[in-house]
Amino acid sequence: MSVLVDITRDACPMTTAKVGMALAGLGSTGTLEIRLTQGALTNVIAAVKAQGHRVAAVGRDGGHFVLQVTAGGGGGAAAPAAGCG
């Protein structure tokens, strides 16, 4: 069963903190659905990749985005980190 995390009402750094907790509970086979705003995309995807997971699909829901995350199979640390700027 896919877990849903909605961070559309959160601001940095709560966005990545909530995603980080959800990713930690993902195990090696789980899936996770993250609902987020455009502004959080880069940081959240960076966090997903950094923990070795994969964004399997990207959906749009009204003005928001929905990322389907699959445990494992990610690119690891290849991506440059992104921050609040």
Binding site: L41, I45, A56, A57, L67, A79, P80, A82
Partner: protein
């Protein structure tokens, strides 16, 4: 007070204050960095030789106000024994400023503190037609404001679309802050406009499939920036230099160009506006060929 050469003192970072026989002493810091012992020594120096006050400057420096002329020599010796020199004023290369960069800041694309040290050791106090400020930002977030400097350096990552595995999700287009990623026919990217790219790497970070890859990662140089009475922003040179040694070489060449082309009391940006930034690119030609 008699017998003091004010111009000589000014070159050494000593500025006359409004109040009779009181001087403001600018210290030479690199990237705003001191160790604990030095910080304590600076505090002690302010108490012993000044009024006890310190002033933090806009360029990561420290100034000690209210030093009487008779205490300047002793203050200089006191600080020199702790590895801290006086700053410079006048037509010279100023202390190099930098953000924390890679190794401290998680966003850092380039290492900044060692680079600041190298540039400062090589160029601090060197003569130029006018003041010459160097600043280094570790990434496109640009906390150190590279474009404010006569010569700014910024950590830079540029993308290339490999096409491999691209799902057409369009996130690269969505996250690009400058719309440098052009839309293609199938929701994916149709190309990248280099002139619009600010080297943030966000499209690479956001791409879920790894189709957007790094084309180049390194140091982008901005020339001719200044604030003051007539502010203007530095403009980027074409190349992205991958190694710090290339940056040091480029700064040496840019300074040589400025000494050859600049008029006395003309800032680098004004020289470049007068002779054309292209002339500098030509002067740097051999270096520019190596990268990007």
């Amino acid at each position: 007070m008699s017998g003091i050469d004010y111009r000589e003192l000014k070159r050494g970072g000593v500025m006359r204050q409004e109040r009779e026989d009181r001087f403001l002493v600018r210290l030479h810091l690199v990237a705003g960095t001191l160790d604990g012992a030095q910080a304590r020594a600076v505090a002690e120096a302010a108490e012993r030789f000044g009024s006890g006050a310190l002033h933090l400057t806009s360029r990561q420096g420290i100034e000690i106000p209210d030093v009487p002329s008779g205490a300047l020599v002793a203050l200089k010796a006191f600080l020199a024994a702790r590895g801290i020199g006086f700053g410079v004023c006048g037509p010279t290369v100023r202390g190099v400023v930098a953000c924390q960069g890679r190794g401290v800041c998680p966003n850092g694309v380039i290492e900044t503190l060692n680079l600041a040290g190298d540039l400062d050791r090589t160029f601090f106090g060197a003569p130029a037609p006018h003041k010459f400020k160097i600043g280094i930002s570790g990434c496109a977030n640009n906390c150190l404001k590279a474009e404010e400097n006569d010569l700014g350096v910024k950590g830079w990552v540029e993308p290339r679309w490999s096409g491999e595995g691209c799902t057409g999700c369009g996130l690269c287009l969505t996250v690009c802050p400058t719309k440098a990623v052009r839309a293609g026919a199938d929701g994916g990217p149709g190309g990248i406009e280099r002139a619009r790219c600010i080297g943030c790497g966000d499209c690479i970070t956001a791409c879920p499939s790894g189709s957007m890859v790094e084309r180049v990662r390194g140091h982008r140089i901005f020339v001719g920036g200044k604030l003051g009475r007539a502010p203007s922003l530095g403009r980027p040179l074409a190349a992205v230099l991958t190694r710090p040694e290339e940056v040091t070489a480029a700064v040496a060449e840019a300074l040589e160009f400025f000494r050859l082309q600049g008029k006395p009391r003309e800032r680098f940006g004004d020289t470049l506006r007068r002779v054309g930034i292209e002339a500098l690119e030509v002067h740097l030609g051999a270096l520019q060929g190596k990268s990007a």
